[in-house]
Subunit: 215 residues, 2 copies
DNA sequence: GAATTAATTGAACGTTCGTTTTATTACTGC
DNA sequence: GCAGTAATAAAACGAACGTTCAATTAATTC
């Protein structure tokens, strides 16, 4: 046989991407074989090479688009003129929503960096660094304005990102907590972690621990 | 050739373990070949099978001993009768010290779970859960005593562990920050995150953000 | 110093891997 | 309906994989 009835390049490529994300997230990039991926799509292995020249190209494409998507999501949801506390809240909300919505893709982007060639690794890390830089910038602004109480901006940014991204490790939709509840709790923890004051103008007592961070 | 002069089973096994941890951490379990591991040790691939019956047995042994070591380290460093804040501080200190000291082994234990057979995965997860349970217990005690201000004990425990373990992703000995500085900052962040009061008896104003957590 | 045990080599086994090549069929534009 | 292109199958490639086996030598025991 050769071309099958109803075959469509666009649909097949989309199916390949989706199946690849799921298989790599579950078994790992090295453990997933091209034949296994092809079987999942319902196609022969050779057909995959019409869309991705090598296995690593496939991995790189998935990662790059995931990282770009993350950055674009933030740029669309960032408040333009808000104070650092509101900016931070928006960052946390975007980060959690994006990652919970794409648990498998996040797993791939975080776990399979070592399977990239050096220059492609550099490209992905550049995208990641640019995204993290946004958070550091918010933290610095807040610290300088006296709204946050932070020992080390870079270290705090890394701690926050690790904490937030970690949601995908244990969160399963439909279990004990809803996405809204999880996000609310993470917002509270974040604001306490950075020592945020609820009001940057008044110099009243700290009410951080009890505040509702619905900024 | 056959047995080489000066060969010693104990030494060879130790060398295999060490080389395996490093190679798996760097390239991943699937990507590391038994021949590559043997070459690193300075031995033929067949010799490895004297010490570990299969490749997965090797992985499982490394993981199990790492998790057991983590739990034992905590049991040796836990304060017997301290209040929850001090208990939490000791937990954080032990966790960070242990993980920074064994970055590669931690990477293996965190990243290669999917390469284990189902029942071995269960065994490792049981060890991990037992260790995490200790933290949840501390948080619950502190919350009930009114020392901590926590929305959800389980969620906070996961967030803290993800945050602390994340240290190994970016921390490199000898760079900008020392282990002591990192640990101190993480202690401060942890105490703020759980909304700890510096003194559980007095009901004075919160000074969390500015407190030196040298418990 | 002979017998036994411990440690390792070298070669081989069957399988699976990523990838390439060639041929064949379905679709599209005219 | 015919030419050209898009999409796939089928088969094969050499290389690498985890693992096994028999042979061989070093150390130990008595």
């Amino acid at each position: 046989m050769a071309r099958t009835t109803g075959s469509d390049g666009g649909r097949t490529e989309a199916a390949v991407r989706e199946a690849a994300v799921n298989l790599i997230a579950r078994y790992g990039y090295e453990a997933m074989s091209m034949r296994q991926l092809a079987a999942e799509v319902g196609v022969q292995a050779a057909a995959l090479y019409r869309y991705f020249p090598t296995k690593e190209d496939l991995l790189f494409t998935l990662m790059r688009e995931h990282m770009q998507g993350l950055h674009e999501a933030w740029e669309h949801s960032r408040p333009g003129d808000a104070d650092p506390a509101r900016q931070l809240a928006a960052y946390v909300r975007n980060h959690i929503a994006f990652h919970i919505g794409r648990r498998h893709a996040t797993h791939v982007s975080n776990m399979e960096l070592r399977s990239l060639s050096p220059d492609r690794l550099t490209q992905i890390l550049r995208l990641r660094t640019a995204y993290e830089k946004e958070l550091r910038s918010i933290l610095r602004d807040g610290a300088e304005a006296g709204i946050f109480n932070i020992e080390d901006t870079g270290l705090t940014a890394m701690a926050l990102i690790q904490m937030m991204t970690g949601v995908i490790v244990w969160f399963r939709p439909g279990e004990r907590l809803s996405i809204t509840e999880v996000t609310t709790t993470y917002l509270s923890m974040t604001m306490r972690l950075v020592g945020a004051k609820i009001d940057s103008i008044t110099t009243g007592p700290r009410v951080t621990s009890d505040a509702q961070w619905t900024l």
